[in-house]
Amino acid sequence: MVIEVRGLRKSFGKVEALRGVDFSVPEGKVLGLLGPNGAGKTTAVRILTTLLPPDAGRASVAGFDVARHPAAVRRLIGLAGQATAIAPHLTGFENLEMAGRLYHLGKQAARRRAEDLLARFDLADAAHRQAKTYSGGMLRRLDLAASLIGLPVVLFLDEPTTGLDPRSRVGMWAVIRELVAGGTTLLLTTQYLDEADELADDIVVIDHGQVIAHGAPEQLKDQVGGDVVEFSVEEKAALAPALEAVSSLGERPAFGDTETGRVQVHAGGRGSQVLVEVVRSLDAAGVAVTAMALRRPSLDDVFMSLTGHAADQDNASDGAAGNGPRKKSKGAI
């Protein structure tokens, strides 16, 4: 195992960020660490990249214990965090060349490697422009290139596409896939199920500092139950009759949220068929609905089926807004 994590714990004051986490990643494989904001993903990455000492438990990277041999670990890893660690007033080339020097590659090797990476990540034309002129997608690619300059055997990407527009996101996926094809062992954190599905060989779902599920993407999706038909009732009084009308149509009893009046029917692999049946049943029962949709399972559905609560529920209660990318606050991640 290139990454081995056993019983990892970390608290920040009273907040338990990690409460005994175990997982491992074999050589050349991609592990997706999936979870909502505040689940403990970034804390796990910070411990594995020697930025933070664990309170208890063990973590090793490439055979080295991260707490006892941090210097050896640092020579073998690359990290691209949530924020892009790029000096905006330096050019793309200067950013990479200096990173190479700081990995002790030597001047010539650092230059050569910087040029190679710029070409590989489609940044050769912008190589001698200051990074502040780059688009969000270009910055992420440059940041990823910087994390690769030291030829890491293990790469850590902490939410590599959070905050990117959909097109840059897909571009970033292509870059990461190509990288992984070259045999790099990768640990990737994400809030998006589709991202983990797209890139990971294995997914570890983490919530409240604990691993709540572990498996290949297909296994997880089967567990979630495929497509979801979702609609909202116009008046809350209509929630009960609506649930009654559709409850037998899905793979398991429909779920209704009394707060929002939103109803979910898990349709398995029969999405469109169930959609038609739901419409018919509601019409027959005389329930007026708004915003009906058929969608693929999301992180919310994974959480709903694994924990019985929505992924963003706890965040909402401590004042953070929803599921979207949130400014990273140091400490209690």
Partner: protein
């Protein structure tokens, strides 16, 4: 696993992982010392390049002190009477240089807070880069920048009538002592930036402590002109002591009476303050960096 403990030995990596064993070789002390120097130079260059490319930085570090010089020389200077040969301009230039050394440290705090927020610190700490290099590179860059600023200010001072009269050694000594003062203030500022961590808070509060220290000092006006309750603080605080030494170095021993302190006394107090501050704040800032 115990093989990993053997310092300097080449050890096999995580059994069966098939990873390059060269990466696990722990370098000897000489190599590590060389890396510490090289890494510091790379980070120094990185900071200095950014400085030369941002007009606002150059404005803040060079143009603003020049404006202070002109302002006090031509606007306030006529109302301030000092018993210094050559008049107020000779009194002013060493003072405004001392003040500049205090203000220049602002960018140290800002720069460090920004790199904490943008992930630059996390990135470098996850790299095999020497642990001391990030902070050392920042301090070296800021000190070199201050040195350039001081030389520019001496040039501007010459343009408005300032003249060294303490000999070449005194002139060089003044520039170097002012630079040392700047380095000392930068170490305090480094701790502020790393402890506060938030760039906006640093923007708002990072400079407040420098204002009373530089203005309630002998930088611009003789301390005797201040109310008596303020004079005790003004006379003994570090900026005054260093500025006294700067004046005597620049203008010669004949201004010792006007300054109110002898060169020997001003110098040893200056060194005690600056080196003392550096000795206290470098370890504190290093600790804050490790914890950040």
């Amino acid at each position: 696993m115990s093989a990993h403990e053997v310092l300097g030995a080449e050890v096999a990596l995580g059994e069966g992982a098939g990873l390059p064993s060269v990466a696990a070789r722990r370098p000897g002390p000489l190599t590590r010392a060389r890396w510490a120097v090289e890494d510091t130079l790379v980070i120094t260059k990185r900071n200095l390049l950014a400085w030369t490319r941002v007009p606002a930085y150059i404005f803040f570090t060079v143009v603003q002190p020049v404006m202070f010089t002109l302002l006090f020389r031509y606007v306030f200077g006529g109302a301030i009477h000092v018993p210094v040969p050559g008049g107020y301009v000779n009194y002013l230039v060493p003072g405004v240089i001392g003040q500049t050394a205090g203000f220049a440290s602002f960018s140290t705090a800002i720069g460090l807070a920004r790199e904490l927020q943008t992930g630059g610190v996390d990135r470098i700490k996850s790299m095999p880069t020497a642990r001391s290099a990030f902070l050392a590179g920042r301090l070296v860059a800021d000190t070199l920048r201050l040195f350039v600023t001081i030389v520019v200010m001496v040039g501007v001072g010459y343009g408005v009538g300032f003249r060294f009269s303490g000999g070449a050694a005194g002139a060089v000594g003044m520039v170097l002592l002012a630079t040392l003062l700047g380095l000392a203030v930068c170490t305090v500022s480094a701790l502020i930036g790393l402890a506060v961590k938030d760039e906006e808070s640093v923007q708002a509060f990072g400079l407040i402590w420098v204002f009373p220290l530089t203005f309630v000092s002998a930088a611009f006006v003789p301390i005797a002109s201040m109310p008596s309750w303020l004079q005790g603080f003004a006379r003994h605080q570090p900026f005054t002591v260093v500025i006294n030494a700067l004046r005597i170095l620049a203008l010669g021993n004949r201004v010792e009476v006007a300054v109110g302190q002898g060169l020997g006394s001003a110098l040893w107090q200056s060194f005690a303050w600056t080196i003392g501050v550096i000795a206290v704040f470098v370890p504190l800032a290093t600790r804050a960096y490790k914890r950040a």
